[in-house]
């Protein structure tokens, strides 16, 4: 994309993990003809870039440009010039004088007394808060009688550490901003939410909302990295307003990898079980390494406990979660929002507990899982609902049969170079953050639908599609309800000015929640069509029926059994126009009353080369309960992608820091950030996906989500398979060849 007269922006980033800027000299850049932007030139607003929670649950500690950077890569200035090359040269001509401050790169170190304070003060809504021990926010919850855990026959307590992962989405964070003649701006950006982008730009720049138009742009992927408004957007707006010219700002991959990542978490988990195969209770301490800023870590603290307690029935549960600042790239949501991390830990420990009490790990899961009729609060303690559809048992028993689970290898009997193992793991994710009562999380969407004069439809929605086919699923829902073919429903390019509010495409809510809005407008429009048809046919609107006529390529409304009393959509729309009845159209907002979990389960077979430590995938069986499957190919695609991402999380990905200079060890090189290619994955013939036969009463046509549940159990499953092959458990991710050889050396010499 480009505009005439457009400038190219570049962001000046802090090379220090923690510093104060004493002076910044931009004269060199300006002498080259570049437009520059310094911290004094942007509004002095402290904000939170993620606006999914309500204000009273939103902690704020960000600036558009800061004079006290807290991580290597934080934006401290910007330039815009006629070409990217010129902008780059101008960037290098800026001189900055820093006072370098102490820094911390580990959550546990950060909390120690005497550690350098990263933020002295932050805001909760509009109240100033003092930060103590670098803990940005925390949450504690206890339910049940602690005696339950004390009475357990077996108790295991362990510390686990997850990896830090980069989203590695297709396009780097990018934005184009065009200042408009009326003082407003038009914005095209990588975002999962156009309306929250507008909200934030309004908050920061004070431009009236109607004059900020944020346009939907097709994305190739995001995985949660643009639920929040990416920092480039706010900087580019500043450049465009100052230069009064369109500005394009697109991060290089090296900048992008220092812009966002998943939360690294340290867990101390204690779980107890009785000899009869039932869980007694547990205690979880979770330390979230949030990096240098909060991107709504508070709701994540709620989700972490929610994900934990909604996997298995725990008569007693005790939780402390802390979001800890470190001088690293700020962490944000990444497919699963903490669920892949906690599921890895729980699924690892479930296997270990099962071993200790002498139950098969699969039976142990079947004994304890949370399913239909149980209270579910995956999205945190403020989002509770009752589970109305559950395919866990079907997934586990069918899968077990397919892989001959009960005859899997015994690790103690394996001694050769290559060793094989099977692992099982299960999980779920919520579909949206809907609930019967309001919570601290905003979750509603909306849509507009109108019938055109030829009997086709225009569908307008603010909901973003990240390349997952979400809008395609909406079209199918609308077409199904209106008895037309999918190609008769058009997706209209839209922006904040032409759509009603939708919170965000995240939390696996695209089909369940967004599709719920689509169904609602389709039902409304159908009602109007019935009314119009009733008038034309001289029939009762509630009595007419609708079918699709393939010959005429039109939906037909008819009074059953009465010959000649039928009319096509096209005729209805034409008549409505000629008789001035109006358009059959509807615009609606919709809130889901629940956030039903979609359940998933995996069986994975691996082969470990004990000489090189390499783990090879042999076979995968995946079961998913997603209610009615709206598009089987796309749903299976979500499972394939979820599995690949989970596999990568388990054996490859990490973003270690170099404490000497506070930068990533890979120095931003994505070539040194390993993810599997198609050549590293198993053949799709060896990856079987099956869907459980369920129906979600609250979902559109019985549907639930799939995006995140597809990923969540993978790390636990793969780790269990590696354990089954080697007889060794790993308490740190990723399980790399290097770590495998180290562990084997320790075990076998």
């Amino acid at each position: 994309m480009s505009f005439p007269n457009m400038l190219y922006g570049r962001v000046l980033k802090s090379p220090h993990a923690h510093a104060r800027i004493k002076a910044m000299d931009v004269s060199g850049a300006e002498a080259m003809g570049a437009v520059t932007l310094t911290p004094e030139e942007v509004p002095d607003v402290t904000y939170c870039p993620r606006l999914v929670s309500i204000p009273s649950a939103t902690y704020k500690d960000w600036k558009v440009l800061t004079d006290k950077p807290h991580y290597v890569g934080e934006a401290i200035g910007a330039v815009a010039a006629e070409s990217e090359e010129e902008a780059q040269k101008a960037l290098e001509a800026i001189e900055v004088d820093y006072e370098v401050l102490g820094a911390s790169f580990d959550a546990l170190e950060s909390m120690k007394p005497g550690a350098e304070p990263i933020h002295d003060e932050i805001y909760l809504e509009d109240d100033l808060l003092k930060v103590e021990n670098n803990v940005g926010c925390q949450l504690e919850i206890t339910e049940g009688d602690p005696k339950a855990l004390e009475d357990a026959d077996v108790v295991i307590e362990r510390t686990y550490r997850t990896n830090r992962r980069y989203h590695n989405q297709l396009e780097t964070k990018s934005v184009m901003v065009r200042p408009e003649a009326d003082g407003g701006i038009s914005v095209w950006s990588t975002t999962q939410t156009i309306h929250n982008t507008r909200l934030l730009l309004h908050d920061i720049y004070g431009i009236p909302m109607g004059k900020i138009r944020v346009y939907k742009v097709a994305l190739g992927g995001s995985f949660g990295s643009s639920i929040h408004v990416n920092p480039v957007v706010n900087v580019a707006v500043g450049l465009a307003l100052k230069s009064r010219r369109p500005v394009k700002l697109s991060y290089t991959r090296e900048e992008d990898i220092r812009d966002h990542c998943a939360y690294q978490m340290i867990f101390k988990l204690k779980l107890g079980a009785y000899k009869n195969g039932k869980l007694a209770g547990g205690r979880l301490e979770a330390y979230l390494d949030i990096g240098a800023h909060q991107i709504q870590a508070y709701p994540l603290l709620g989700c972490v406990v929610g994900w934990w307690v909604s996997l298995y029935k725990l008569p007693y549960k005790d939780y402390v979660g802390k979001a800890v600042y470190t001088n690293k790239v700020p962490s944000c949501a990444f497919r699963g929002y903490g669920n892949p991390q906690i599921s890895w830990v729980v699924e690892t420990m479930m296997d270990e507990l099962a071993g200790k009490i002498g139950v098969d790990p699969l039976d142990f899961r079947l004994n304890n899982y949370i399913g239909e009729g149980d209270i579910f609060w995956g999205q945190g303690p403020s989002v509770k609902s009752i589970i109305q559809s559950c395919g866990v048992e079907e997934i586990l028993t069918r899968g077990a049969e397919m892989v001959d689970w009960y005859n899997r290898p015994n690790p103690e009997e394996q001694t050769g170079r290559y060793r094989r193992g099977w692992g099982v793991g299960r999980g779920y994710h919520t579909s949206s953050a809907g609930a019967p009562v309001p919570s601290s999380i905003v979750d509603f969407g909306g849509a507009m639908l109108k019938m055109n004069e030829d009997g086709t439809f225009d569908y307008v929605s603010a909901l973003m599609d990240h390349g997952c086919g979400t809008q395609d699923a909406h079209i199918k829902i609308v077409a199904e309800e209106l008895c037309v073919t999918a190609d008769m429903v058009n997706i209209i390019r839209a922006d904040t000015g032409t759509t009603v509010y939708d919170v965000c495409t995240h939390a696996s809510r695209g089909v369940y929640s967004g599709g719920g809005a689509a169904l609602k407008v389709a039902m409304k429009v159908k009602e109007k069509i019935r009314d119009f048809a009733g008038k034309i046919l001289d029939a009762y609107p509630h009595a007419v029926r609708i079918r699709y006529d393939e010959e005429r390529e039109q939906a037909v409304v008819f009074a059953e059994g009465i010959e000649g009393r039928e009319v096509t959509y096209r005729e209805i729309a034409e008549t409505a126009r000629h008789k001035n009845w109006g358009t059959a159209a509807a615009v609606e907002s919709y809130r889901q009353p629940s956030c039903p979990p979609h359940f998933t389960g995996y069986f994975v077979e691996v082969e470990v080369d004990t000489w090189t430590g390499k783990v090879k995938l042999l076979r995968v069986v995946a079961g998913a309960d997603i209610g009615t499957v709206i598009n089987p190919m796309l749903a299976a695609g979500q499972v394939h992608g979820g599995f690949a991402q989970g596999w990568s999380m388990t054996v490859l990905e990490d973003l270690p820091y170099d404490p000497d200079d506070g930068d990533l060890v890979n120095r931003g090189s994505v070539a040194n950030y390993k993810v599997p290619t198609t050549m590293d994955m198993l053949d799709l013939d060896d990856l079987t996906v099956f869907f459980a036969d369920t129906y979600e009463p609250t979902g559109p046509f019985g549907a639930k989500g799939i995006g995140e549940g597809a990923l969540n159990p993978v790390a636990g499953t793969v780790a269990n398979a590696i354990q089954n092959a080697l007889g060794v458990r790993f308490f740190q991710l990723p399980i790399t060849p290097i770590r495998i050889l180290e562990a084997l050396r320790e075990k076998e010499g």
């Binding site: 090379p15 890569g73 990217e84 090189t612 390499k614 200079d661 930068d663 050549m679 060849p737 050889l741």
Partner: protein
């Protein structure tokens, strides 16, 4: 500090571009500009290095217009491969597949098809990376390099070409024109092995082996190891152990000790610690020698 400077997207440096049509023209340019000039072949190493500002040449000398440098042909002394032969061509060449299949195997292990369609065999060697896959393979095959400079052509064994990490023995004005890869002895078996974190990854360790059997015993034997020292090396001690012996598990294991002993740890080895390289170099050498033995047995 590199964060505001290094990226793989923008090349903000200015340079003059030359595209000589003959070797002599190229040599004249290289003579004239010396350190300021860089040869451009496939560009898969050079261009990323320029973007990363590891090098900021004032002159780029594109040698792809020189016609004779991309050849792959059989000669009495061996297969002659021009420096500009694409990795993909080396991988797919019927002559190479027939006469020195291990070289084709090694070429096929590099990066992706896209990279192999751009990258050249000469660039792989001149880049002087310790993990260059062609380098390890050519070492085991005991290739000869051909160099051209102001005094004309010269040639020497490839082992003399490497001068340690990131350095080759080219002098001002010289360029690499190609290789002669001698035909392995009759009935030879050979194999190339590498371990990286993904199939797209450069090698954490690579090993190439060529050997023949005589009466069930190893006769000719050549093993090269890459990514474990400043430049790929021949593992002479392991070769000596194996020669004249039957390749039993015990013999192989004994030889492998010497492979592991060749690992020369670097101070900042980010990819993998020495321990890992020792263990996996043994494993890969076992695999390579094992496969080569099987092949040689089949050829008997």
């Amino acid at each position: 500090m590199t964060i505001n400077k290094v990226n793989t997207h923008i090349v903000p440096i200015e340079f003059e571009y030359h595209a000589p049509g003959s070797l002599d023209e190229a040599v004249a340019l290289l003579e004239k500009y010396g350190e300021d000039a860089k040869i451009l072949a496939g560009g898969t190493d050079l261009i990323p290095h320029m973007k990363q500002r590891k090098t900021e040449p004032k002159h780029i000398v594109n040698i792809k217009k020189i016609p004779e440098l991309a050849c792959i042909e059989e000669t009495p002394d061996g297969i002659k491969i021009g420096a500009l032969a694409k990795l993909r061509a080396v991988e797919l060449s019927p002559q190479i597949r027939e006469k020195v299949p291990m070289l084709s195997e090694a070429a096929g292990s590099i990066g992706s098809v896209q990279i192999r369609n751009l990258g050249t065999i000469g660039g792989n060697i001149c880049n002087a990376s310790p993990s260059a896959d062609m380098a390890t393979a050519l070492m085991a095959l005991e290739a000869t390099v051909h160099v051209y400079g102001k005094d004309g052509a010269k040639e020497y064994p490839i082992a003399e070409f490497f001068q340690g990490r990131s350095d080759v023995s080219l002098e001002r004005g010289e360029l690499l024109t190609g290789f002669t890869v001698p035909y392995p002895p009759e009935g030879a078996g050979s194999a190339f092995e590498k371990v990286g974190w993904t199939t797209f990854d450069i090698a954490t360790v690579n090993v190439a082996a060529v050997l023949t059997l005589k009466g069930g015993k190893i006769d000719h034997c050549s093993i090269a190891l890459g990514a474990c020292s400043p430049a790929p090396i021949k593992v002479a001690l392991a070769e000596e152990i194996l020669k004249g012996k039957e390749p039993t598990d015990e013999v192989l294991e004994e030889a492998m000790e010497f492979v592991a002993a060749c690992v020369e740890p670097r101070k900042r080895w980010r990819r993998a610690p020495p321990e890992y390289r020792r263990r996996s170099s043994q494993a890969l050498a076992m695999d390579a020698v094992g496969r080569a033995v099987e092949q040689a047995r089949r050829h008997q």
